[in-house]
């Protein structure tokens, strides 16, 4: 009996000693010069894409590994900026590719965003899953994808974003490519010498700016092919059209142009943008809000007393050849040069934000200046040619709907070049 009592006495305190758990923490890959944010196997990627109806069973799908990489770049004013970007590599490839042939790189500049949470490395950290165009380029295309956050997002969120300003967009892309090459070498990721450039919308503009910088400056880089998509390369023409129209389809875009150019060219914001909007812009563009949240806080009237742009500014823009904004957008045009690299201007004819005519103008201008390998790739016609039974003959895709098929076509083009040159 005494033994039983002893057991009770001994067992009772034990009940109250345990706490917490002895669960071992997951071990994570050791990375030099970056942080692993996403790691999905090829099986997991295939199951996910199959469940979404994106692919069929026979499609080859690679795993997806994404790293955030910090780096240093230079802003529009020439100052050093601590920036960040996302580097995505495919996994599950044959060892001959990962050890000998190496991965081909695609620098993929992202489209217009406003919220910091939408930046590639921030989005990957917050959500933790493969997302966006890098799924097409990496898991379906087998490319190493490079996505700079740009100045103004990610690690440089406190800096204003130099929206549609070619120098800093090109800087942030070129510096990221260089940093990724170092990161790959430090972490035993085998890259080959191929570098493709692409990007959609603002990213199309940024990729064109990058190509121009690489061709015209001593960056140590060379580009295999560039496929800018739906970018406003002829910026002066875009400005002329927008400022002459009574209504703005997406006021946040033009407000952001006005805000960024005023900052970069040290002009008072309220000399371009009407109050009360001018005073609101620092808050609207601080990285907390998305476009959908910003647009309702602005007006769709282009100018006038209640319009977005200050009437005197608009009048001067059209009347004065020395108007600072006219000179600024002219100097940021990206269609008036002659690239030596093969360029494919991927664009939808139904684009309702960046007119298809901008790519036509770019192709024509570049060719007239001596470019020998510049070509427009009309997305709708390409889709119909690939699968005539799937698409109607009068297919017209808007700017929003065009992105995904544009990336698929671009990925296929890049893969074709890689197959011919690298062999896979």
């Amino acid at each position: 009996m005494q033994n039983i009592l002893k057991l009770v006495v001994v067992a009772t305190p034990l009940l109250f000693i345990g706490c917490g758990s002895d669960l071992s923490a997951p071990t994570s890959e050791s990375v030099k010069g970056g942080e692993l944010l996403v790691d999905f196997s090829d099986d997991a990627m295939k199951s996910t894409l199959l469940s979404k109806g994106v692919i069929d069973e026979n499609q080859t799908v690679y795993g997806y590994k994404a790293y955030k990489i910090p780096y240093t770049t230079t802003d529009e004013e020439g100052n050093e900026v601590k920036a960040s970007g996302l580097f995505v590599i495919p996994t599950g490839l044959p060892s001959i590719i990962t050890t000998k042939l190496g991965l081909s790189m695609v620098s993929d500049d992202h489209g217009t965003i406003f919220a910091n949470a939408e930046a590639p490395s921030v989005n990957a950290k917050n959500i933790g899953t493969p997302a966006g165009s890098s799924v097409i380029l990496t898991s379906l295309g087998g490319f190493a994808t490079l996505q700079p956050d740009y100045i103004g997002f990610g690690d440089s969120n406190s800096h204003y974003h130099p929206f549609i300003l070619k120098d800093s967009l090109a800087n942030s892309t070129v510096d990221f490519i260089k940093q990724v090459k170092k990161f790959a070498a430090d972490n035993n990721i085998t890259l080959n010498s191929q570098l493709f450039l692409t990007g959609y919308s603002e990213g199309g503009y940024a990729s064109m700016a990058t190509l121009k910088k690489i061709e015209e400056e001593d960056t140590g880089l060379s580009v295999t092919m560039a496929a800018p998509m739906a970018g406003p390369y002829a910026l002066k023409t875009m400005a002329d059209v927008v400022l002459s129209q009574p209504k703005l389809s997406v006021p946040s875009f033009m407000a952001n142009v006005g805000y960024a150019y005023a900052k970069a060219y040290t002009q008072p914001v309220n000399s371009i943008i009407n109050e009360p909007y001018a005073s609101k812009l620092p808050t609207l563009f601080n990285g907390d809000l998305t476009r959908v949240e910003i647009d309702p806080k602005l007006t769709t009237d282009t100018t006038g007393k209640t319009g977005l742009f200050e009437p005197n500014f608009v009048n001067d823009y059209f009347a004065n050849d020395n108007n600072w904004f006219k000179e600024a957008v002219t100097s940021n045009n990206l269609h008036t040069w002659s690239p030596k690299t093969p360029v494919r201007l991927v664009h939808c004819k139904g684009d309702n934000v960046i007119p298809y005519a901008i790519s036509q103008l770019t192709e024509g201008t570049m060719k007239s200046l001596g470019a020998s390998d510049v070509e427009i790739i009309p997305v709708e016609q390409t889709l119909i040619a690939i699968n005539p039974s799937k698409y109607p003959a009068d297919l017209n895709l808007t700017h929003g709907d065009c992105g995904s098929p544009a990336y698929s076509i671009t990925t296929a083009m890049f893969a074709e070049v890689r197959k011919k040159t690298i062999g896979y």
Binding site: C19, G20, D43
Partner: protein, 410 residues
């Protein structure tokens, strides 16, 4: 990293009654299907009705024993819908499990009108494992282990009326594992434990020498399991501090027994269990988790359980001075609305059949065995009926329990 005492070596848990409560904690209670509140006469009185300790003979009573639990598979035939456009075949069965549950009871000598006792028991628990298929995403393992130390006291107010009560000290461990495998590349491993407190009350009235009437109440105890969770997206995992709260619900028992010829006793028991306390299953994390995991692992999962009524009848026959036979039947109601049934506990209404015997070896020592059969009813979920996307039929499950115990009086 915190460390926990490995109580799981000696304490396992099982599903033997509605949801995850285990009412049978001794040979007699197992043999009578827990229709054992009004007419209690052993050391287990400390647990089932401490007020009755006041009427026990002037001696010390002890009982110790072990219950072997066999949990057959739950079978599921049907589909799993993640959305209206994502529906998979999902027929599967859960793992068979074999567990052991110990118990220990003690009642002291009387000290004038007072008496004290104590019990070490497993008042609830759950263990469900689905090692494959879509079920693995929801309940690769869902284990709740509960052990209770329950010191009690009684006070005899008159020769036929007594009250009792005690404190409930609960130690509990929880393990939750979820793995979407290739279907959904997300995974969770969570371990936690907690120490909680509650109380129990009892009242016994004996209007005649052959009739016992009793009311008992055990308080609700919220088990806030605190520990760590490893969350994985694809191959990438991170550890978070976490907690999740699961109630061990309050229960009210009303019981009456009638004895004939000092040999035959019939007890009727009604139990109300306040499962409606269980409104949702809500995991909390020490820091923000990736938003892709929020829907599966962070958003509260509504449970909205309902209070249940259980009716029990137990019959005891002292067929000789040495041999006592016992048998019981319970109709047990599940607290889980079909709308909120999930794989971690695909519970259903049950019929519980029990029998057992006790042999008196000498004037101090007796021993006994009891068997319990828990038969769950099959049930089906039509498309759109279940919030967790389960479409199909559950069958099987239930439990078989075998208890052996020894009692000593001195």
């Amino acid at each position: 990293m915190k460390k926990s005492i490995a109580l799981s070596i000696i304490v396992s848990s099982a599903l033997t009654a509605g949801a995850y409560k285990v009412p049978e904690q001794s040979v007699n209670s197992m043999a009578l299907g827990a229709a054992y509140v009004a007419h209690t006469d052993g050391a287990d009185t400390a647990y089932y009705n401490p007020a009755n300790m006041a009427f026990m003979g002037d001696a010390q009573f002890t009982e110790a024993g072990l219950t072997l639990v066999h949990l057959p598979s739950n079978r599921f035939q049907g589909l799993q819908a993640y959305s209206v456009n994502e529906i998979y075949p999902a027929s599967n069965k859960s793992e068979i499990e074999n567990l052991q549950i110990p118990f220990l009871h003690y009642v002291s000598n009387s000290i004038e009108q007072f008496r004290w006792g104590a019990s070490l028991s497993v008042p609830g628990g759950l263990s469900k494992e689905w090692k494959s298929g879509h079920q693995k995403l929801f309940a690769e393992e869902f284990t709740l282990k509960i052990i209770e130390f329950n010191p009690v006291a009684s006070y005899k107010l008159s020769d036929n009326f007594a009250v009792g009560g005690g404190l409930r000290f609960i130690y509990s461990e929880g393990v939750v594992k979820s793995d979407g495998g290739a279907i959904k590349p997300i995974k969770r491993d969570m371990e936690g434990d907690t120490v909680e407190y509650g109380y129990n009350l009892a009242m016994s009235y004996r209007p005649t020498s052959d009739i016992n009437m009793a009311v008992t109440y055990r308080s609700n105890i919220d088990l806030k399991e605190e520990g760590d969770a490893n969350l994985y997206l694809g191959n990438l995992g991170k550890q978070y501090s976490t907690d999740v709260t699961i109630p061990l619900p309050a229960a009210l028992n009303l019981a009456v027994s009638k004895t004939w010829q000092d040999r035959y006793t019939l007890e009727l028991n009604y139990e109300k269990t306040y499962w409606s306390e269980y409104k949702n299953l809500d995991f909390n994390y020490g820091s923000a988790i990736p938003s892709a995991l929020v829907g599966a692992f962070d958003d509260p999962k509504p449970k909205n359980w309902r209070d249940t009524d259980t009716f029990r009848v137990g019959f005891t026959a002292k067929v000789s001075p040495e041999l006592t036979l016992m048998a019981g039947y319970s109709k047990d109601e599940t607290p889980i609305p079909k709308e909120y049934v999930s794989y971690e506990l695909p519970d259903a209404d049950a019929n519980i059949y029990t029998f057992g015997f006790r042999i008196k070896a000498n004037k101090n020592l007796s021993y006994g065995f009891a068997y319990l059969r828990d038969e769950k009813e099959s049930f089906s979920l039509a498309q759109g009926e279940n919030k967790n996307g389960i479409i199909g039929k559950f069958s099987g499950g239930g439990a078989d329990l075998l208890t052996a115990g020894v009692s000593y009086k001195f």
